[in-house]
């Protein structure tokens, strides 16, 4: 649960136990990994199609 503003400094230091995710028919939690030794940005930049924006055409929305 979220802490209220004035409770923020009183949060327990130990992490809460992991909860089951993706129940109740909702989407699963995204896998956001923690910073590691590899340069994740460089890895992803190499996979970007440099022509992707050229090919990207949309209808106008609101």
């Amino acid at each position: 649960m979220f802490t209220k503003a004035d409770d923020r400094l009183r949060r327990p230091a130990t992490p809460e136990p992991e909860r089951k995710l993706g129940d109740d028919g909702g989407p699963g939690k995204p896998d956001i990994r923690k910073p590691g030794g590899d340069n994740e940005l460089l890895k992803r930049l190499r996979k970007v199609d440099p022509d992707q924006a050229k090919k990207y055409r949309q209808r106008s929305g609101q």
Binding site: M1, F2, T3, K4, A5, D6, D7, R8, L9, R11, E16, R19, L21, G22, D23, D24, G25, G26, P27, G28, K29, P30, D31, I32, R33, K34, P35, G36, N39, E40, L41, K43, R44, L45, K47, V48, D49, P50, D51, Q52, A53, K54, K55, Y56, R57, Q58, R59, S60, G61, Q62
Partner: protein
């Protein structure tokens, strides 16, 4: 001070290998229908009035992009209900096809960061549908949370604020417009190049190129900074929905929260008659100039012939709020991962954060870039320009720009920056995302909407922002949801439908 109920509606960009804009309505419709999670599929359209104007009249028809009209020539796609394919979710959100864009409208919330996290969680709802759709059609599918295709088409991220009708158009417009012009500095998503006017390497706002008037009721064409659509999401005698269309789609939930918070600040000052009065010579020109001003001076011409800066405009709102409201002084409000208890604590948090960010913008840009989308993307692109020996006219920069907004956490560049620690993470908020998928934290009227979807689908006939219609013993029963009421989930869950309806009647 009364709380202001607000929500965010995001139209997502959709790229499907081998398909184009001419088939986008059909594709978005099928993508939404691919959503595999629990939902209810009967939205109530009775209260929609996109042609009604806050100034008291109704326009005959809304302007339409002539380029899009070509895609629809000779096509028949069925009823509105079929084309939109609404899905109402167990958290009270609405997921549907809007003009060929999968749109996720968050459940309405009283607190800005809570709304922002719903918006963030919504990315995964859209992505989940896209993954299923990708398997079904056997084509690669990408979903982008941005507002431009770099070829002249824009699509929106709108905010809805519940505002007393008694405030009136003039007062709301005068109070809010200056904030809409300057808030992009703290909430813009950033864009490579330009789609109208002189070319620029980079600008702050994704939407600035598309505004042509200070105010009007249009949204698809001839877009205004201040939209006058009068389509209330509650009793129209008491309320209007302020429909803000000039903001960008943010990847950073902190930016989304600030985007709402700054408008709420202007509205709260309007309600007590203390909003600062600014007369900009040309609001549209000011919006565009700020977006393109990489000197960060942000000068704005005034009607009087003199000029001010965006910094002074921001500060005029902040100091007015401090003078008028009894704001708390809390020791640690630097990160909004704690939900404030009152509108006053929310305003205090947003003013404190905004002042810190405006200071960082001028003194420590790398620190500013950790917190604000347009700056984070700019730093990333500068690194690419330098390492790859590119110029800002190289078209590949727009591809990197686009991929910043890819909502797949395994592909999107925003998520890579998060992983690298180059933008702020969500702290403990990340661990609570599941609560936003099912709406466990809300207390607004979205709570009964979500519970009705989850527990009373057999009796629910239609749902909308403002009401639920049930059928019990052959009789239709409509329940108006009070937008100001605090709905306690624990008191509404697990009831039979008759008890549930009685509890909603209060």
């Amino acid at each position: 001070m009364e709380r202001i109920l607000a929500g965010i509606e995001t139209e997502y960009g959709l790229w499907i290998k081998g398909r184009g804009a001419d088939s986008q309505v059909d594709d978005a419709m099928m993508l939404v229908r691919s959503y595999p999670g629990e939902h209810f599929a009967s939205w109530d359209y009775r209260f929609e009035s996109p042609r009604a104007d806050l100034r008291g009249f109704t326009v005959g028809q809304l302007a339409y992009d002539p380029e899009d009209a070509k895609f629809d020539t000779g096509k028949s796609r069925g009823s509105d209900h079929e084309v939109r394919s609404d899905r109402i979710l167990p958290n009270g959100a609405r997921f549907y096809n809007d003009h060929g864009h999968p749109e996720y409208a968050t459940p309405e919330c009283f607190e800005s960061f809570e709304t922002a996290l719903h918006d963030y969680a919504g990315q995964y709802t859209v992505l989940r549908a896209a993954k299923v759709f990708e398997r079904e059609v056997g084509r690669e599918v990408k979903v982008y949370k941005n507002n431009t295709d770099f070829h002249g088409a824009s699509y929106g991220t709108h905010e809805s604020f519940l505002v007393p009708r008694s405030l009136g158009f003039e007062k709301i417009y005068q109070s809010v417009l200056p904030m809409l012009v300057v808030r992009q500095i703290l909430t813009g998503a950033g864009k490579v190049g330009s789609e109208h006017g002189d070319w620029v390497p980079y600008q702050i706002s994704q939407r600035a190129d598309f505004f042509v008037e200070p105010f009007n009721t249009e949204t698809l064409y001839r877009r205004p900074i201040f939209n006058t659509r009068d389509e209330p999401h509650a009793d129209p005698d008491k309320w209007i929905r302020l429909h803000v269309i000039s903001g960008d789609a943010n990847m950073s939930p902190d930016c989304s929260s600030m985007k709402l918070g700054l408008v709420k600040l202007a509205l709260q000052l309007a309600i007590v008659g203390e909003a600062p009065i600014w007369k900009f010579k040309n609001p549209v020109d000011a919006f565009k100039r700020i977006s393109r001003d990489m000197t960060f001076e942000f000068k704005i011409e005034l009607d009087s012939g003199s000029w001010t800066t965006a910094y002074e405009v921001f500060e005029s709102y902040f100091s007015a709020a401090e003078a008028v409201f009894d704001l708390p002084s809390l020791p640690d409000q630097r990160h909004p991962s704690s939900i404030p208890e009152t509108p006053e604590t929310e305003i205090y948090r947003d003013i404190t954060m905004a002042r810190q960010q405006l200071s960082k913008l001028r003194s420590d840009f790398s620190a500013f870039a950790k917190e604000v989308d347009w700056a984070a993307k700019k730093v990333m692109l500068e690194q690419i320009v330098e390492s790859e020996g590119l110029t800002w006219r190289d078209h590949s920069l727009q591809a990197y720009d686009l991929e910043y907004h890819n909502v797949d956490p395994d592909e999107g560049l925003y998520f890579a920056l998060r992983e690298m620690g180059q933008v702020d993470d969500l702290g403990d908020a990340e661990d609570c995302l599941e609560d936003f998928f099912v709406g466990r934290l809300d207390t607004s009227r979205a709570v009964p909407r979500g519970i009705a979807v989850k527990e009373h689908k057999a009796h629910l006939k239609t749902a909308s922002w403002r009401s639920l219609v049930f059928e019990v013993d052959g009789k239709a029963i409509e329940i108006e949801l009070d937008p100001t009421r605090t709905y306690r989930r624990e008191r509404l869950q697990g009831l039979d439908v008759v008890s549930f309806i009685q509890a909603l009647r209060g």
